[in-house]
Amino acid sequence: MISHRHKEPEKKPCACEGADKATSRRDFLFKMGVGLNVVAGAMVSLPLIGYVMSSFVKILPTKGISLGPIDQFPEGTTRLATYTNPYRRPWDGETAEIPCWVRRIQGEQFQVFAINCTHLGCPVRWFDESKLFMCPCHGGAFYQDGSHASGPPPRGLYEYKVSVVNNELIIDAGLLPTLARPNA
């Protein structure tokens, strides 16, 4: 009796057919459920990815910033100057105040260097006596014109584009200079 009932589904195709129909219907519904969720998931993830990757995709351009009248930089000296990050957000606080080294060669000839060492971004310090920039992290050193003097940095200091307009020193700034984007 038991064996008979056990064998029945195999023997009677009609019963199987009905079962198959039901199974295939459920299969379809399951697949549809999965499919709907794939579509919905994609729709949900698109804005998420867009939100996160916006900063990856959107590269902001540099902006012209005034470092003030050129008279404050005596000829033949290199001085620290500070500007406010043009992309400053109200809650940035003092992290928006960015330093840079201004070298006035003579007249309206200027070089403005980023504070960041080209090795790993540490703040270089200017020493007027030896006319060297020295980095406190891994010992990189640069000459007064920004060229590489010694240590691990792969290149000279990053330089801002400089112009003098109406006796004011203007630089193109706003980005953290890195090897990928040396002109800050």
């Binding site: 000296t77 290199t78 001085r79 007027d128 006596e129």
Partner: protein
């Protein structure tokens, strides 16, 4: 045992762990900008000691606790030298306005601290003026000879090499005023006497000092070993 432990724990909770050695001390551990340092000794140690020594240790440049120097140097000059340096020499400017790291207040603190090192000189000491134009070089030659003899007598022969103060490279690195200061104040810590002890029995007069300086200036050369005319030498004061 249990009770005392409980008691200890209770105390710990009550005092908020404040008794523990790891608790940061706001006065010591809290960050202050370097421009907020107002302790003279700390400022001196960080900014002056390398070249000028610390009173006990001697260094390359003149010691700033030299009593004669402190007695003759005008306060305004001292301040100007620290703040602005001496252009063309190895004395760098320290005030931020001139590219240094110190605020005006910190420069003042250093000046005050140095002047606090002043000691009363023996009664009846007549100080030569801090600065004066150079005098008669020919007269200075003989005086300079006496000067170096005095050093040799005091056991300082080793210092007299290289032509001593007449070495052109040395002369090329110092101002006339520094020569004058050296003659007046000497460097007793090294065995170079001040103006009072050069000639036995009497101090060098203002005129003597100016003459020696004039003789030294006449020994200045350019980089090619040619003598310089006295007009073209570096006479920036201080």
């Amino acid at each position: 045992m249990k009770r005392s432990l409980l008691f200890l724990g209770f105390c710990a909770v009550l005092t908020g762990c404040d008794w523990m050695p790891g608790k940061p001390d706001e006065k010591v551990d809290k960050w202050r900008p370097p421009t907020a340092i107002t302790d003279f000794h700390e400022l001196y140690r960080e900014n002056c000691q390398g070249c000028h020594g610390d009173g006990k240790l001697v260094a390359g440049a003149i010691s700033l606790d030299n009593p004669t120097y402190l007695a003759v140097v005008p306060e305004a000059t001292l301040r100007k030298v620290i703040a602005e340096g001496i252009p063309g020499t190895l004395m760098p400017p320290f005030s931020q306005a001139k590219g240094g790291m110190l605020t005006e207040e910190q420069v003042d603190i250093i000046v005050k601290g140095l002047l606090a090192w002043r000691q009363p000189l023996p009664a009846g000491t007549s100080l030569p003026p801090y600065s004066a134009p150079p005098g008669d070089a020919t007269r200075g030659e003989a005086l300079y000879k006496a000067y170096t003899d005095a050093i040799a007598k005091a056991g300082g022969e080793k210092m007299l090499g290289d032509g001593f103060y007449t070495n052109p490279a040395f002369l090329g690195l110092v101002t006339d005023q520094y020569l004058r200061t050296l003659i007046i104040a000497g460097r007793p810590e090294l065995g170079i006497p001040d103006y009072r002890k050069v000639i036995p029995g009497r101090p060098l007069s203002d005129e003597d000092i100016s003459d020696i300086v004039a003789w030294l200036i006449s020994k200045r050369e350019n980089e090619f070993g040619q003598p310089l005319s006295p007009d073209s030498v570096n006479t920036q004061i201080p």
